[in-house]
C-alpha cells in the first residue's frame, strides 16, 4: 500500500504543479491580507491574547478553508478526465489512492501556514519559539482536517459546480463563526455560542493556546477535535469511494 500511495502522491504533486494558480493566489492574498488586518487584530485583542497570533492564525484558517475546493477538486477532476475508473481498476486500494491524494495537499497546507506564521514573526515579532512543537502539530492537525473534509466533499459531490458552492459557502460560514475573519469578542454572542460547532474555531483556539504553557489542556482539546474531524471526514471519503457506482459518472 505504501508504494501505491507514493506513486499516487508523486502524480498528485505533478498535477498540482501544473496548475498552481489557485494556490499561489491564496498564498499571496493571505500574506497581503495579514499585513492589512494586523492592526485591527491588535486593537481587538483581549488582554492575555496576542493580536499578531490572532492575525496569523485567523488568516491561516481563512485561506486554508478557501482551499477546501482545491482538495475536493483532486477527486472531481478525475471524474471529468475519466481517470477515476482507471485508478480504481488498478491493484491499489481506495485508501492508498486517497492517501496518495491527501499527502501532497497536507504538506502544502502545512507549508502554507508555516510561511504565514514566519511572515508574522518576521514583520510583527510573533514569538514562534513560544509555541515550540505545538504550532507545527496544530498546523498538521488543521491541514489534515481541511484535506479530509475537502476530499470527502470531492468524493460525495457530483460536480465541480456543487463543490464550488458547498466549499465556498461552507468556508465563508466557518470563517465567520470560527473567529478567523473577526475575533469572536467583536461578534454577537450567538456567534460565540455556535462557534464550537465549526472546526475553524478549534484551529483558532488551538493557535492561541499553543503559545501559552498554561493552556495545554485547551491546546490538546483543539488538536483532538481537529483530528477527530479529519478521521470522520477521511472515513466518509473512503466509504464513498468503496460504494458501488461512485465511478459511474
Amino acid at each position: 500500500m505504501l508504494r501505491d500511495t507514493a506513486v499516487v502522491a508523486r502524480h498528485t504533486v505533478v498535477l498540482l504543479a501544473r496548475d498552481p494558480g489557485t494556490l499561489v493566489a491564496y498564498a499571496v492574498m493571505s500574506a497581503v491580507l495579514m499585513v492589512v488586518v494586523h492592526p485591527i487584530y491588535e486593537r481587538l485583542a483581549v488582554p492575555g491574547t496576542s493580536g499578531v497570533l490572532n492575525a496569523a492564525g485567523g488568516t491561516a484558517v481563512m485561506f486554508t478553508l478557501l482551499a477546501l475546493d482545491v482538495a475536493g477538486e483532486q477527486l472531481l477532476a478525475e471524474r471529468d478526465w475519466h481517470t477515476w475508473a482507471r485508478l480504481r481498476a488498478c491493484a491499489a486500494g481506495p485508501a492508498a489512492i486517497l492517501a496518495g491524494k491527501a499527502l501532497p495537499l497536507l504538506a502544502l497546507f502545512v507549508v502554507f501556514q508555516g510561511l504565514l506564521f514566519a511572515e508574522a514573526a518576521w514583520w510583527f515579532g510573533l514569538d514562534l519559539a513560544a509555541g515550540g512543537w505545538r504550532l507545527p502539530v496544530l498546523w498538521l492537525a488543521w491541514s489534515s482536517c481541511v484535506t479530509a473534509v475537502g476530499l470527502a466533499l470531492g468524493a460525495w459531490l457530483r460536480s465541480r459546480g456543487r463543490l464550488g458552492a458547498v466549499a465556498d459557502i461552507g468556508a465563508m460560514i466557518m470563517m465567520g463563526l470560527s473567529g478567523a475573519l473577526v475575533p469572536l469578542d467583536g461578534l454577537p454572542g450567538w456567534v460565540a455560542d455556535l462557534a464550537p460547532a465549526t472546526p475553524g474555531y478549534w484551529a483558532v483556539r488551538g493557535f492561541q493556546s499553543a503559545v501559552s504553557v498554561s493552556a495545554s489542556g485547551a491546546y490538546a482539546h483543539a488538536v483532538a477535535v481537529l483530528t477527530a474531524v479529519a478521521v470522520v471526514a477521511g472515513t466518509a471519503a473512503v466509504v464513498r469511494v468503496l460504494l458501488p457506482g461512485r465511478s459511474r459518472a
Partner: protein
C-alpha cells in the same frame, strides 16, 4: 485465462447483462462485437474488477476479477488520461500502480513508445495530443506491465491508418506472448487483421461465439453481375439459390445495370445465372464476387436476434 459465467447486471430498470458468458484462452484474441448497449462496456468494467455483477462471476486465471485487478490491462472506450500530465507521467502512474519499478518501468515505457509511435510526444501533455495519439497513449498505459488479460475497448477509434496498424501489431504481439485479449470494436475488418475469434453480443449476452470461419459458414455472399444496358429478360434465379438467395438490380449513370445475386455460394450461383442467359451473356461487363463478411454476419445475427425477441 478470462472466464465470465452467467453475468447479470441491472442499472435501475435497464438490464445491461443478462446471462453473459465468455471465455478467452491465453494467446487468443477475441473480438467482442455488438450494438451500442449490447453489454460490452459493462462486461469490461466487471472483468476489470470495477463493478460487481448482480449474478455470475468473472475469473481471471482462476481468481475472482475483483482480487485480480493487477492482472488485467484495461483501456476503456473514452479517453482516460490526465491532460495536464505528460504521456510519460501518465505511463509512470499506471505502470507504477501496476507494480513496475524504476528500470523496468523505464524500459517498458521506452518499448511501448517505440512500438506505438509515441516517442516524440512522450514529454508532451496528454491533453495537447491529437485524438489518435491519445488513443495510443491510453492503450500503452494498459499494456505496461504485460498483464495476462487485456480488455481493449475500441482502441482504434479516431486513429489514422498508421496508428491503427501500430496498435494492431502490438495487440498481436501481446497475444503471441500469451495474453488473453478481449478486443471490442465496430471496425470489423480489424478483427480479420488480428485473426481474432468472435463473440457477438446482443441484449446483454453473447449470442454467437467461435472462429470466423465457423460463424461465417452458411451465410449468404453476393455476386454482382454488371451488364451493358438493361438487365437480361432471361435472367432468372437458378435452381438452388431461391431457398436462401435473392436478386436485385439497379441502374448506373453510364447505362450499366447490375444484378446482385445473393446466395450461400455466390460464385456458383453467378455461374448458374450466366449459363442461363444465352445471347444476353455478351452484354456482361463483369462479375464481382463478395464472400460473406463480418458485417454480414453481424447484421444476420442482429436480425435473427430481433426476430426471436419479437
Amino acid at each position: 485465462m478470462l472466464e465470465a459465467t452467467g453475468l447479470r447486471k441491472r442499472f435501475g430498470a435497464v438490464t445491461a447483462l443478462d446471462g453473459f458468458d465468455l471465455a478467452v484462452t491465453a494467446g487468443e484474441i477475441c473480438g467482442l462485437i455488438g450494438h451500442n448497449g449490447a453489454g460490452k462496456t459493462t462486461f469490461a468494467r466487471i472483468a476489470s474488477g470495477l463493478d460487481r455483477p448482480d449474478a455470475g462471476r468473472v475469473l481471471i486465471g482462476g481468481a475472482d476479477a475483483r482480487t485480480a485487478r493487477g492482472r488485467v490491462g484495461w483501456a476503456p472506450q473514452e479517453t482516460a488520461l490526465y491532460p495536464t500530465a505528460t504521456v510519460r507521467e501518465n505511463m509512470r502512474l499506471f505502470g507504477g500502480l501496476a507494480g513496475l519499478r524504476r528500470r523496468r518501468l523505464r524500459a517498458e515505457i521506452d518499448e511501448l513508445a517505440d512500438a506505438l509511435g509515441l516517442r516524440e510526444v512522450l514529454d508532451r501533455p496528454a491533453g495537447r495530443l491529437s485524438g489518435g495519439q491519445q488513443r495510443r497513449a491510453q492503450t500503452a498505459t494498459a499494456l505496461l506491465n504485460r498483464p495476462p488479460v487485456l480488455l481493449l475497448d475500441e482502441p482504434t477509434v479516431g486513429a489514422d491508418p498508421d496508428t491503427r496498424l501500430d496498435l494492431l501489431a502490438v495487440v498481436r504481439a501481446r497475444a503471441a506472448e500469451g495474453a488473453a485479449v478481449c478486443y471490442t470494436t465496430h471496425y470489423l475488418p480489424e478483427l480479420v487483421e488480428l485473426d481474432a475469434t468472435l463473440a457477438v453480443a446482443a441484449a446483454g449476452r453473447v449470442i454467437a461465439r467461435g472462429s470466423r470461419a465457423a460463424l461465417l459458414a452458411g451465410l449468404p455472399g453476393r455476386a454482382v453481375l454488371r451488364f451493358d444496358g438493361p438487365p437480361p429478360a432471361a435472367l432468372t434465379p437458378a435452381p438452388g439459390e431461391h431457398s436462401d438467395g435473392e436478386h436485385s438490380d439497379g441502374e448506373h449513370s453510364d447505362g450499366e445495370h447490375s444484378v446482385v445475386v445473393t446466395a450461400e455460394r455466390p460464385a456458383e450461383a453467378a455461374a448458374r445465372v450466366l449459363a442461363g442467359l444465352g445471347p444476353d451473356a455478351a452484354r456482361l461487363r463483369g462479375v464481382d464476387i463478395a464472400e460473406p463478411t463480418l458485417d454480414d454476419l453481424y447484421r444476420h445475427l442482429a436480425t435473427r436476434e430481433a426476430r426471436s425477441a419479437a
